[in-house]
Amino acid sequence: MRKITLSKAVNEALAEEMRHDETVIILGEDVAEAGTPFKVLSGLVEEFGTERVIDTPISEPGFMGIGVGTAMTGMRPVVDLMFGDFIFLIMDQLCNQAAKTHYMSGGKLNVPLVLRTNMGATRRSAAQHSQSLHAIVAHIPGLKVAMPSSAYEAKGLLKTAIRDDNPVVIFEDKLMYQDSAEVPEEEYSIPFGEACIKREGTDITLIGTSSMVQVCEKAAEMLQAEGISTEVIDPRTIVPLDEKTLVESAKKTGRVIVVDEGHQSFGVTSEIASRINEQAFYHLDAPTTRIGAMDVPIPFSPALEDITVPTPERVFEQAKKLVSGELINAA
């Protein structure tokens, strides 16, 4: 099968959906001729014109609000938020308006809007361009949250998001835009709420989101060399969350580590670990543990930044402790 980059996969998903449905538009800063700073959208304005690929001023709340209004009146906007960190600028439009409109109107109004943004540290961009803020959005009922772990997921999830009648936030890892993966030529989409078992195993389950799937897969290879059979699961969407697949795997292996690049406290790792403990407690051989980003703002210096995010080595060490029973003894 052909391999394409995550960036190209996103571009293809948008182009296909824009050809398929003329109500799909793109709104954001430097989305047209510039194709965004990451060049993800290059070429779209040439095909679809400036009426559908709309450059906005640097006014995040403004163009997000306009996006919500277009969605409520028959368009399917894909709003491009240049950095995930800017989500704090649009919280009212996203969380008070988009997320609540369908509910507050008793089901009469819909907001079929996609917010495409990014996440991920280690790009030497420091604290205001490196955050992974998906947990904050996932906390708000009414929003769906997708976290692609490769080019294949990025394309399939984005196509589903654009066709969804609800507001969907997609977090792409900005360090993965140039990573390639196998992506079919033919059209496909990936349903929300269906986790993907990336690797089957019997001794321990690693649940990873976004680029942490790769971290977990690398850790699994290292564990394999030690004779530990590791299952790796990618939830793909955290809202809705495929609890069933996660819990079944926890029951099978009896040991789980949840790995996510958001800050560890009050985050995705806590939520998933808690659900596993509630639903698989009597099947567990060790406490479900979590590895998230360090609870500090992301620092600039490479010497500091690299130690704030989960690494295969840390997951490997933690997994060995779980399997050996060391964590139980420590408790």
Partner: protein
């Protein structure tokens, strides 16, 4: 009042009068529901500002869009809403416009183009501007009117979306209802300089108009709506008006920020309904008796709707996790 008899037919004038009376009557009943502890929560009265909503909405088609505010009952009535479904919503009943999930501050009536009241001050400025962008992209000819108060002019969102509306020539009319008070504070204490000049800075044609004169508001609105339809928008209106009640129904002892004599002056000398009534009689569009009969009909209609809503059932508790997502019937199931 504007000397505009020739431009306004008897039918149009009487319909505007009726709509203003309907709003005032609706609000009087809503206030009574609050004072008699029959309504959950609080509400914000539109009384005194009727000519703004009616003058503008009577210039719109049902397919044109509006966004409304926490003080939104007037816009909702003026855009064509039904008393029963409105009172049901105020009381949290199943037959309310939003099945009781929105309440006073979130009534939406999409069948008449009302995209909803918004309890975030200025929160709907983007939504209205987006509705205008849809109109332009789909070439529907629809105009969007964004109602907001003088208080919302302090929100940054307003300047962001006005900038884009002007750049993209969107068919949106920003209708700033300046009732003199930003919650419990005089507007002059929160707004520096001129409000219309702020819109003019974006190259947006702006008008200040007497918001107590329904014919003046309507005449100007008709002109601007038609021009917006032709792609000459956006426009900005500052409508000078007054709210008779406090910020909300519970804001009763308010002399610390507003004198009773000032309220009396507006109620007695600048009331939009009293003025329109005199104008209709003077121009022989109606007799005193006919207008009394009209008011009586509206009062009976409102009382019947209140009685209906008080007896109407609450939504079943199973609805609590419905309408969170369009495609998941019960999200917690």
């Amino acid at each position: 009042m504007s000397n505009a008899k020739k431009k306004v037919s008897a039918d149009d004038a009487l319909r505007m009068f009726r709509q203003m009376v309907r709003i005032r009557t609706f609000e009087n009943n809503a206030n009574q529901l609050y004072l008699s502890a029959k309504m959950p929560g609080l509400t914000h009265m539109y009384s005194g500002e009727e000519a703004v909503a009616v003058g503008i909405c009577e210039a719109l088609l049902p397919t044109d869009k509006i966004t409304s505010t926490h003080r939104g009952h007037g816009h909702c009535v003026a855009k064509g809403a039904d008393f029963k479904a409105m009172f049901c919503e105020l009381l949290g009943k199943e037959e309310g416009y939003c099945r009781g999930k929105g309440g006073s501050m979130h009534i939406a009536d999409q069948s008449n183009g009302n995209l909803g009241a918004n309890a975030i001050v200025g929160g709907s400025l983007g939504i209205a501007t987006g509705a205008a962008l849809t109109s332009k992209l789909k070439k529907t000819g629809d105009v969007a009117v964004c109602f907001f108060g003088d208080g919302a002019t302090a929100q940054g969102l307003m300047y962001e979306v006005m900038n884009m509306a002007a750049l993209w020539k969107l068919p949106v009319i920003y209708a700033c209802e300046n009732n003199g008070y930003s919650e419990y504070t005089k507007t002059e204490e929160i707004a520096a300089g001129s409000i219309t000049a702020r819109a003019e800075a974006f190259g947006i044609e702006s008008h200040q108009v007497d918001g107590q004169d329904v014919i003046a508001v309507n005449e100007l609105s008709r002109t601007l709506v038609e021009r917006a339809r032709k792609g000459e928008g956006p426009f900005f209106l500052e409508l000078m008006t007054y709210r008779y009640h406090g910020h909300h129904v519970g804001d009763i002892n308010r002399e610390y920020y507003r004198a009773k004599s000032e309220e009396e002056d507006w109620r007695e000398n600048r009331d939009p309904i009293i003025r329109m009534r005199a104008w209709l009689i003077e121009n022989k569009y109606a007799t005193e008796a006919e207008l009394d009969e009209l008011s009586k009909e509206v009062t009976e209609d409102a009382e019947a709707a209140v009685a209906y809503a008080l007896d109407a059932p609450y939504p079943d508790v199973s609805e609590v996790d419905m309408h969170v997502y369009t495609d998941i019937e019960h999200v917690l199931a």
